[in-house]
Point group: C2
Chain length 347, copies 2
Amino acid sequence: MGNAKSQLYPEYAIILAMKVKELGEFRLIDRLNKMIADAGINKTSPHLILGIGDDAAAWQGDSSIQLATVDTMVQDVHFTPDTTTWQEVGWKSLAINISDIAAMGGLPHYALVALALPEDTDVENVVELYKGMIEIAKEFKIAIAGGNISRAPQVSVTITVLGSSPDNRILKRSNAKAGDVIAVTGYAGSAAAGLVMLTKKLKLEVKAARYLRNAFLHPMPRIEEGRLLVKHGITTAIDTSDGLVADLRHICEASQVSAKVNIEQVPINDVVKANFREDARQMALGGGEDYELLFTGSLEAINKVKKEAKCPVTVIGEITRGEAGKISLFDANGKTLKIDYMGWTHF
Amino acid sequence: MGNAKSQLYPEYAIILAMKVKELGEFRLIDRLNKMIADAGINKTSPHLILGIGDDAAAWQGDSSIQLATVDTMVQDVHFTPDTTTWQEVGWKSLAINISDIAAMGGLPHYALVALALPEDTDVENVVELYKGMIEIAKEFKIAIAGGNISRAPQVSVTITVLGSSPDNRILKRSNAKAGDVIAVTGYAGSAAAGLVMLTKKLKLEVKAARYLRNAFLHPMPRIEEGRLLVKHGITTAIDTSDGLVADLRHICEASQVSAKVNIEQVPINDVVKANFREDARQMALGGGEDYELLFTGSLEAINKVKKEAKCPVTVIGEITRGEAGKISLFDANGKTLKIDYMGWTHF
């Protein structure tokens, strides 16, 4: 406040006087990106391809595009020890980063782990956490190449994953164009249903409970599917971490287009339908953390992906000309529905 | 507890039953490294050169060695808002990572910023934090290529810096050998003195206060000096983040050698000597966060570095055969001194 800039731009002074929760996560990120852009530091970086604003950063390496992403899981924000094992925390904290590399169509190679721990943490819990991380690192052939441990009032795990795109093509959020078909891998809303089951301590049938628990705590990043998208010429993708509608909005904002989604086509797992009935659709549209791939492209390319993918691939709508970031939902009768599924934000 | 492994190895069960503070930071890191080694995930990574245990991870890229490091600053652990401006937090949180790249003899290129914030954080504070980060990013031509923001009970900043070693040679902790001379850039203990000044709210003369504040809150990573070391064939270095003796011990443990340090030769800035008298030496040997380079090599090579470096370069001792990690301190009369300067650990 009171500096030269805030005097020149009164709206800037207003933002500075806000709390983070008043400004909101996405507007805060926009604000910080603008500072970086104004400073020109990224423009002078000769090999940078994508800075902030996609699933991962990307730059041109000597012979392939390099990818890097970082994500944090904080105790009592992203997980609670009474519903989550430490092994699951370890798995998921690495999985959500691998998923960002999947959303770029890349392969993950190295992980750096920054752990923050209270000093009275049981060593066994840290060992379990690493078990989960090592389990998924093995699955995806990732080396845990470095890290850092520091003291903090609660546990948090921040992981950086470095990867590459061997064929020098990446999936961006900003490539969608009017006429593209929108598709998604797997099911939407299963993670949200899993979270509700855990927090409300619902007693469900064993197989259903296992499916939902894994959907929320043991997501399987879609690396193979991301590679398939690149193979078949798809150029637009995001992973569904904030929620189907919210993540589609990220694509539409970055690509300066609108989208129409047929909510009857959004794939919802039978377990979710059977156990959450009228809430299932809201979970599918608004629930975050599925870590599926949401992508757009020609129907022809998407059909090729569908044919080769080991998981369901479902067409749910299309990209249209119009206001950047506008998402319209309609049902089987073509009736437009009101959107009150905003997805998950941090503030 | 109670699993197959703990029954086979009783000492493993004892470790599992400990709290993190009982095991200690370095033994915890050893334990986790052993898990990673046992799982074999890093061994199967074809290009990895250095995993956990040095200042940064290193792997062979297509035409140069790639470097990556991560470090966290947590509110009320690494900084307190009443003694530190947010701009200083931003500068330092990036500086400590750049320093790790300096200790490998590399150049920094990209930074990823993972920010954890309480929701009632003032936006102005976040903007100030970014100002500090952008300031040092500009200084070292680093692109802020990505990041993540999440909610947490207190502010923490975790930054990953990616760099490279253009001439395909890196400075390791494990290359020291008996007969090597030990040298250090700049001064030792200035950051510790700065911390004492700030926490005890000492009123010092303006220039002295500014020097000490900057030493603790505005460290200048020794990138240029790291490059000089590589140029002159030095192969062993670390940055002094834990403290001079503690960091020398890291080198000696990794290299399986001992070291002798002449405490009269340890360079202490006049400001520290004048204001902290009998405490100055303890600050210089035990105080962390100077982010200077501590390195070993032939006297000839070190003299070449000394001639070209823009900062003081001081010989403080030599590497000897003997117990791995044993550090002996002696004074001008050759009298050995007891070490009670352990340096800083997190638990």
